[in-house]
Symmetry: C2
Amino acid sequence: MKNSKLQLWQRFQQYYTEFPELGLALDLCRMKFTEGFLASMEPRLQTAFAKMKDLEAGAIANPDEKRMVGHYWLRHPALAPQPELRAEIEATVAAVKAFAVEVHDGRVRGATGPFKNVLLIGIGGSALGPQFVALALGQPGTDKLAPFFFDNTDPNGMEKVLAQIGRNLGQTLAVVVSKSGGTQETRNGMLEAAAAYERAGLSFAAHAVAITGAGSKLDHVAQADRWLRRFPMWDWVGGRTSELSAVGLLPAALQGLDIDALLAGARACDQVTRGTSFKTNPAAQLALMWFYIGNGKGDKNMVVLPYKDRLELLSKYLQQLIMESLGKKLDLDRVVVNQGITLLGNKGSTDQHSYIQQLRDGLNNFFVTFIEVLRDRDGRSLEVEPGVTSGDYLSGFFLGTRTALYESDRESITLTIDEVSAFSVGVLIALFERAVGLYATLINVNAYHQPGVEAGKIAAAEVIALQAEIVKYLGQHPDGASVTEIAAGLRKDGEEETIFKICRHLSANADRGVGQTGGISPATVKFTLRS
Amino acid sequence: MKNSKLQLWQRFQQYYTEFPELGLALDLCRMKFTEGFLASMEPRLQTAFAKMKDLEAGAIANPDEKRMVGHYWLRHPALAPQPELRAEIEATVAAVKAFAVEVHDGRVRGATGPFKNVLLIGIGGSALGPQFVALALGQPGTDKLAPFFFDNTDPNGMEKVLAQIGRNLGQTLAVVVSKSGGTQETRNGMLEAAAAYERAGLSFAAHAVAITGAGSKLDHVAQADRWLRRFPMWDWVGGRTSELSAVGLLPAALQGLDIDALLAGARACDQVTRGTSFKTNPAAQLALMWFYIGNGKGDKNMVVLPYKDRLELLSKYLQQLIMESLGKKLDLDRVVVNQGITLLGNKGSTDQHSYIQQLRDGLNNFFVTFIEVLRDRDGRSLEVEPGVTSGDYLSGFFLGTRTALYESDRESITLTIDEVSAFSVGVLIALFERAVGLYATLINVNAYHQPGVEAGKIAAAEVIALQAEIVKYLGQHPDGASVTEIAAGLRKDGEEETIFKICRHLSANADRGVGQTGGISPATVKFTLRS
């Protein structure tokens, strides 16, 4: 079914909603759901609203981990179910702001001068939000501190970031972010950073701040070594919804971004998305559209296309928020459902010159969420043709692509924001958080745990342990050993493949002392340890 | 079917192939294809090899556009079917190198000193390759020129890049890349850059180089305004396979990267991937695996996960190469097939803390292509635990995730490279180029055109034209007009929605002179033009 242009205009008027208090509009007219679909979903939607109300009131909304889910309290502390929680949230925001002021005015400073850089060391929920916000709101030359990130355990990647910082390590504030304090990538990043400070003759502790759970390993280290400051994380805030806790607020405040506006945007969006009707609640609109297009099973990929360079990391941020929250094997009744929604996308119009060819002509396995930003730039625009600006082209390409996709039966949602600002970024964060929460109830999954990531971590720990055994074994066998021999010697039959992989990795790094002879076949190659 | 660990080790030995001359290994053992599948594909594969041979010999392999497809000649000019082409390729590489030397030694310099930065202005195939290579091989502090990019028509995005460059515009070499010279994003980027140089009292022409087709609009501008230099693009090189033409070689050479090694890697990979058996040809292995996992219809998403920060842009680069090449409506017999393979991914182990939850537990709608890099870093590694390095963890997380996914029946390919170097990046580019070409024959599509992107461009041009009409109309109606009135007045019934969107965009940008009154409903809002 394709609508005539007149019908489209009518449908646009029906399903285009402005939320002026949020600087937001949502347009569903290019989604081909029916009124009947909306009516059929109404009971489930009301259940989702009710569950969300319970969650906000402090219910154990994450039953597997027996935790409350409190990210909505972060921007409206009066909502917190206990006065102590409210006090902690308020005290933390105040401490973040006070610390940022001390850093900015030079009372807290590095060994070689006032802090010019902030190096955030974290991964996943402890990095994606800060990275998204830093790119969206920062401005080179104007930022009070320039942001850098260690977001992986790649040693060369860390070296490269250190090379960017160059000789300014003595004016670089390290912010180590780990709720448990046990995330190994972050622990490694901290150790690599500390070694770099030491090589530069600097005390790491005198340049370091921790954001972590009270009593965590990291908390103990920071306390024992007298780091500059410690900020709390709470078990009722999940990593992927922690941007408006100290995790996101501290680096943003240090960069000089307006965290009050960030919080205000999220708070205003929360207020609107507490509405209990489809028409007035943009988060409910998103959630129902996701259900419609994917049959409640994620049958279509979500392509997120912001037409604004500053929002380029939104899709990465949403990959975590949406895929980690919804990608679940079991539903709340322990039935195997293998749920999720797959997300991709970078930015328009750039992506039009990349994969939009496939979107328009190829597999119809997706829907697009366009993010339109009305305001082009500060100040006057250059005319690239009489009466036409670069921003007009950006807008034109967005509208043209939306039309071209619709003409070939590809559906899309358009989310419009007035401008990219701290307030609107707060709105976007809160909007998608709530949409995910509501959708999770529609499909009956726990959006607040991540049981599937443990298996990979456990398997990785086994690899690390096996490596030590291999190195020890090779030390005892100076003539070297084949993979089969190592496996037999360690009584690790069945681990040959992993042993081969570990040995190849070691032998490719000259400083590890592992050599190889005997060709390139996994069956014949022999590994040796240089003494 | 799940294999026992012993069976896996046997399967690993069978389907793990090292290509020592490429520093490459490919492991298919976690893909559950059968020998029968391989046998059944053999005739099609031989056809693909034969077609590729014709292509390399100069056949019109892009029939719709009646063009030869010559990217393989770029790294082995002696293969070019005509001596003039060979001469042009060789002369261009020589000219690129000579120009880079002149820039590096200061014979060619900016108004305020030797060039320190290169600002590439391009989009899609004229930016993604250079961006991928710059990130993979560059090193802050060591690069001869620091790379910057305008890759969109977002005016604020361009302003932000200019703010990064700061006061060094007089030492910044602008490289404008557009084959046709008609790509509007790039034209706009060029105009915005030129205006910035002028505001700084600098001549843009004296800091600009063009890479474009002979006789294009851009070529004429560069010639008329006496830009520093012009380099050619040819109609037999598509944008998405242009990295080893001047498009990629010039920025890489300016940055100080080893373009000879880049070309050597691609040439060596081409040599290996001309092999006509599955076992000896890694590109054929990839192509058959794509066919197997997606039933020749792209039924599964491809998740590309390099465990190396430097390769983070590989997935973006491959999105264009793969999705634009394969995402086609019609096959070569004009049958509607809606083909493609959807690609996503950033980097490991970072993504394990993001969407790997869904990969392991949620929708089984994907396969992973792991990219393993054996070499961790230059120099000695820090021990983060006794005998364990950050790189061991990176390797351990890769192996752990590969195992965990396999245990929950998610399939994966592992591509191993010895290190990230100019040579290995050349290998990767050539490997995926050839895999795409072979796979396209397997599914009988033209991999070398992009008919679907025109519709969006045409629709965008209509939007730009309509905007001018609207502004004119509002100028003639000083009391303002509703969307319906504008549509009626311009005889554009059916365009109400687009008119509303254009007016909203204009009214959000104060310098455009468009105001709005009458509420937020599309039906009632009135737009005015300030005189």
